[in-house]
């Protein structure tokens, strides 16, 4: 029993990280209508920024602030330089460019920081004990923060003028333009928010898994995308739900030594099957295709 509870708690705390990343994914996908392959790599850049400033100052807060600034600048410039010229081009072109950007970020960080993984201890937040079960405080914090961000994002999109403009852009870009919405500006803002979320995710990722390498973002990135699809891409509560669900699934499979090697394969299998039978996920809206 205790094993089961621990497994589920582990799953939730892993899922919290996935949910945090998935929020950024789903946000950008929902509004800019593009799969930002480089989202995971922004997390990696955030991680290295934290690493550099932790070594320089030793203060996690300063490091986190710098990580947010660097990620936001990176996200905005990425959008301006690589994606904006392709506005109106075929989705295939945008997708290949996004892969190129992801590959570029990985290569650049390898040339700067070398290929060997580095360890950075951001802060030791300790653990909380409930009976025989221990929960690390960073996991609890991750979960709380993910919920807060989820609510804040939902409110922002529903209530604020910019948020509603975002909704309009996601519904129909041309119609939004006609109604006087600055589409390019809105998409840039979306990317900035996405990059900021990635910076937050990198901080909480490192709190939990204190290892940085140039490919650290790719696997969690794909997993978070899976989570976003499970929850229904474009849906903010869906990303949260999908992330938690995926985390629990992963921890359950990992706790069986015979199945553990296949956990990733099972998760990807779930992704494929889900896309086949319910491409809109649990909470996603069905969209009709237009000419």
């Amino acid at each position: 029993m205790e094993q089961i509870i621990t497994t589920i708690i582990n799953g939730l705390s892993l899922g919290g990280v996935y949910a945090l990343i998935a929020l950024g994914y789903t946000m950008v996908y929902g509004i800019a209508k593009m799969l930002n392959f480089a989202h995971g790599d922004i997390i990696m850049v955030g991680g290295y920024t934290i690493f550099v400033f932790m070594n320089a100052t030793g203060n996690p807060i300063i490091a986190a602030i710098f990580a947010a600034v660097v990620c936001v600048i990176l996200g905005a410039s990425m959008e301006k330089l690589a994606y904006k010229p392709l506005r109106g081009a075929s989705p295939l072109a945008v997708l290949i460019t996004a892969i190129g950007v992801s590959y570029l970020l990985q290569s650049l960080s390898q040339i700067i920081f070398g290929p060997t993984p580095k360890t950075v201890i951001v802060a030791d937040l300790g653990v909380t004990k409930i009976g025989n079960v221990t929960i690390s405080n960073s996991s609890v914090l991750t979960l709380i923060l993910t919920v807060i961000i989820m609510i804040a994002l939902t409110l922002f999109i529903k209530m604020s003028k910019t948020g509603r403009a975002m909704l309009a852009v996601s519904e129909d870009r041309d119609a939004a333009k006609i109604m006087g919405v600055n589409v390019n500006g809105i998409i840039t803002i979306t990317f900035v928010i996405g990059a900021f979320l990635a910076a937050v995710a990198s901080l909480f990722y490192l709190l939990k898994y204190p290892s940085i390498s140039n490919t650290m973002g790719s696997m969690p990135g794909i997993k978070a995308f899976t989570a976003a699809v499970i929850g229904g891409i474009g849906s903010i509560p869906g990303a949260m739900l999908g992330g938690l669900l995926l985390g629990v699934i992963e921890c359950i499979f990992n706790s069986f030594s015979e199945i553990a090697p296949y956990t990733d394969a099972i998760e990807f299998g779930i992704l494929i099957v889900l896309l086949l039978i319910r491409p809109n996920g649990i909470l996603g809206k069905k969209k009709r295709e237009k000419v």
Partner: protein, 386 residues
């Protein structure tokens, strides 16, 4: 048949369609005849041949169907493992000859094609980003399964033992397969099926409305591309004494994509040239770039992806693209205007040479005769739109 007939026939052949074959055949024959190739060069030729098969088959999906496959290395992996398994089983009874190779190539190709069929099924419902993710997930699944396979069946983490073919003749065999691959794709692309596939790329709904069986063609594209990726995998297994799944990772799929993008999506000859170039660079740069600088190669790849795609797709560069492009360059050299080339705005009204004097036309009083038919407003509306 007289000599004149032959030259007449030769003249009627569209030689530009066969450049790829001729270059490869001439090149291979010269290599064979020279007889003093270094071993390193032979290995390089093997790799180039395999890359050509991979790039051409991926181009069929990316350039002609217009979908992105990030699991091409996964198809290759399946071909390499299944074909390699067959060849390692047959080698005892049939010897390590050309017959064993052909059988295993066919078996490996068929298994990869089956995988292509399975991946093609989601393609019926999905496209774009979702499909790309599905192919990526498929590639990872294939890798994980072979990596954790039983030691007796597929060698597990250490890889599957496969027979190695005599390197003095393997590169010729690989080039023969490369030519077969190019011929197969070229024939499909220049047939009505190829035009149907490009129609799906350009506008799926319009293609469907015209009566193109979209689902069948999508499946067919994936199956065919996967088959040849599988063939490349089996040939790869013949260049190695062990097939190890770590070779077929995501980065390898990206590398094939770089070849396709560099050569130009939708251009087979471009894919062939880019495959040869990238493989050559891979080999040579590894000895030039050392330490952390080795990553420069990856940076080059990523810049190729970003810059070429932006240049050839961005709406802002449309004018530049039309001014400086390969087709125009070619027609400049040939001193002949390619009639197949139509620039996008050539059909617009201000370009059409007209003898009609606009002032005269405008001064004429046009009166609508509504008593003749009731649908005049429709017809004039139609005229305006044209």
């Amino acid at each position: 048949m007289t000599f004149g007939d032959i030259t007449k026939k030769l003249k009627s052949v569209k030689w530009s369609h066969y450049i790829a074959y001729i270059v490869i055949i001439v090149f291979t024959v010269i290599c064979m005849l020279s007889g003093n190739l270094k071993r390193t060069d032979i290995y390089l030729l093997e790799k180039i041949g395999i890359s050509i098969i991979l790039a051409v088959s991926l181009n069929f999906i990316v350039g002609f169907l217009g979908e992105l496959s990030l699991g091409h290395a996964g198809f290759m992996c399946i071909g390499a493992y299944l074909g390699g398994k067959v060849s390692s089983m047959l080698v005892g009874s049939m010897g390590n000859g050309i017959l064993t190779l052909i059988i295993s190539v066919i078996v490996g190709g068929i298994f990869a094609a089956l995988a292509g069929f399975v991946i093609g099924l989601p393609a019926l419902r999905l496209k774009g980003d979702y499909l790309a993710i599905v192919t990526l997930a498929f590639g990872q699944i294939a890798l994980i399964i072979f990596q954790n396979s039983n030691y007796e069946t597929f060698g597990g983490a250490f890889g599957l033992d496969t027979p190695r073919y005599d390197y003095n003749s393997l590169y010729i065999i690989i080039f023969v397969f490369a030519i077969i691959t190019i011929a197969a794709f070229q024939n499909v692309i220049r047939s009505k099926h190829g035009r149907a596939i490009t129609a799906i790329r350009d506008n799926e709904i319009a293609a469907k409305a015209t009566g193109v069986p979209v689902t069948q063609y999508k499946l067919f594209t994936f199956v065919m591309a996967a088959f040849f990726a599988g063939v490349a995998g089996v040939l790869y297994s013949y260049t190695q004494s062990k097939v190890q799944c770590t070779h077929f990772d995501y980065n390898y799929s990206i590398e094939i994509l770089v070849m396709v993008v560099l050569g130009g999506m939708g251009s087979l000859n471009g894919s062939i040239a880019a495959a040869a170039l990238i493989t050559f660079l891979n080999e040579k740069l590894a000895t030039v770039l050392t330490g952390n600088l080795a990553v420069l190669q990856n940076i080059f790849y990523s810049l190729v992806l970003i810059l070429i795609v932006i240049y050839s797709n961005a709406p802002a560069f449309k004018n530049i693209r039309e001014k400086y492009n390969f087709k125009k360059f070619k027609s400049l050299i040939m001193r002949k205007r390619d009639p197949g080339y139509i620039s996008d705005d050539e059909g617009s009204w201000d370009r059409i040479p007209t003898k009609i004097k606009m002032d005269e036309l405008l001064s004429v009083d046009i009166s609508v005769q509504s008593d003749k038919d009731g649908s005049t407003s429709d017809s004039t509306g139609g005229d305006e739109n044209e």
